[in-house]
Amino acid sequence: MLIVDVLIAVFVLTGALLMVTSALAMFRAKDALSRINVFSPATGLGMPLVLLGCYIYTLQHEGFSVYRLLIAIVGFLSFIIVSSIASNTLSRSTVLVGSPVHRYTRPNRLVEPLVPVDGGETGDPTAETETAHGDGPAQRSV
């Protein structure tokens, strides 16, 4: 019984500490893309740990149930997958709207010239797909 309590406490406190860490990292990241990037430990590791602690608590107090196991597994996977899709969508729209990218964000293919100036070796296929969108505003570096 004591070991189960310690497990619940470790999972819940680790999840909460990861959330605080991710909130503090918002101050250290320089631009929006880096902030979206440092947000992923909170939803990719912190919230699944909280859900795991909650499921162990439920298992201890109310016993096993197939429905609760199914709910917990689907919630665990959707915390990882759904929040990743949301971060991807938000970062894509942040790039499209032309928000500034800090010079410390590296590697940064977005501020390289779309048309290669000399040689022709610097052009990559991602830059060509960016020009295919048409009227997306150009990137500017800070």
Binding site: V50, Y57, S83, I85
Partner: protein, 86 residues
Amino acid sequence: MSIVFWIAICLFAVAIAIALARVATAKDLGSRAIIGDLVYFAAVGILTMIAMLVDLTIMLDVIFLASLLGILSTIALSRILTRGYR
């Protein structure tokens, strides 16, 4: 056992306070959108802790629905950022 849940509630509240202070000082809209997402997940964590404190039987359902529907606000904010341009 309940002291652990109270400590976790305090940690989530500290995370929300730090994130709101960052929203007040942020310049661009993408940062504000992602910090709003962080506030949402911290609020879900606080709800989970309260549900474990008062022994609710629906706490797993709460986390399940919150994890599935958390994408909606982020996608709506990203559509607002680009003015509907995909």
